[in-house]
């Protein structure tokens, strides 16, 4: 099963649709406190918007958006953001991943500090899930084309 052909209509439709999917993914990550959503869903939406361009445009067009080189460091950054939050909360005198000692400015009470701590963690999850799904797609679609 190796048949493929170029179609400008598919590329145009994907380019029309992809930014709105990406915007909705970012909205889902940042609005996950008040409605269903969160890091996993938002990351999967961001990954699907990137994969849509890669699937319709091919390798040359998709290099303009997210380079294939950047996916693995981005996944590592996502894990490090999560883990670093726990380490920072240890350094400021609390348990591992207990957010009530995080150094946010403004003199907030522990409930509000937990609110922002959860937000930081959701961003880390979103970056990691997006990068890893795109990475799996890249290495599967590359296959035997590369040397």
């Amino acid at each position: 099963m190796r048949t493929q052909f170029e179609s400008p209509i598919v590329l145009l439709g994907s380019r029309l649709l992809s930014p709105y999917i990406m915007l909705f993914g970012i909205y889902v990550i940042f609005h996950g406190h008040y409605s269903p959503g969160g890091g996993f869903q938002g990351g999967a939406l961001l990954a699907s918007s990137v994969i849509l361009i890669r699937l319709s445009g091919g390798r040359i067009v998709s290099r303009l958006q997210v380079r294939e080189f950047f996916t693995t460091p981005l996944a590592a950054i996502g894990v490090i953001v999560y883990f670093g939050t726990g380490i920072v909360s240890i350094l400021f005198g609390s348990y591992f991943l207990d957010y009530e000692a995080l150094p946010f400015p403004g003199g907030l009470d522990p409930a509000a500090l937990r609110y922002y701590g959860i937000l930081v963690i959701e961003i880390g999850i979103g970056i990691a899930v997006m990068a890893i799904l795109v990475m799996i797609y890249d290495h599967m679609a590359r296959g035997e084309d590369y040397v």
Binding site: P36, A44, A47, S48, I136, M140, A141
Partner: protein, 81 residues
């Protein structure tokens, strides 16, 4: 939890699962699996798990279908059963 709706969705899910396993063409099987995943997401929402339904609708109906298609593109579509 409206049990009539859940019963109809259960019937759809079981029929889609049987079709996905028994059909001869692998592309048809993948499309039927996508229908299975999306109906499963509707079933989660009918049971009240909206976060689980959202995740299944994004991941199961979107990314899984693309990964199956790419795997078929890299390998073969020929099957014996």
């Amino acid at each position: 939890m409206i049990w009539e709706v859940e019963l109809i969705l259960y019937m759809f899910v079981i029929v889609a699962a049987i079709v996905a396993l028994e059909v001869k063409d692998l592309l048809t099987a993948v499309v039927s699996l996508t229908i299975f995943s999306f109906t499963m997401a509707l079933l989660f929402v009918a049971m009240g798990g909206i976060d689980v339904g959202f995740t299944e609708a994004v991941v199961g109906a979107g990314v899984t279908g693309i990964l199956f298609i790419v795997a078929l593109y890299q390998t073969t579509i020929r099957t014996n059963d």
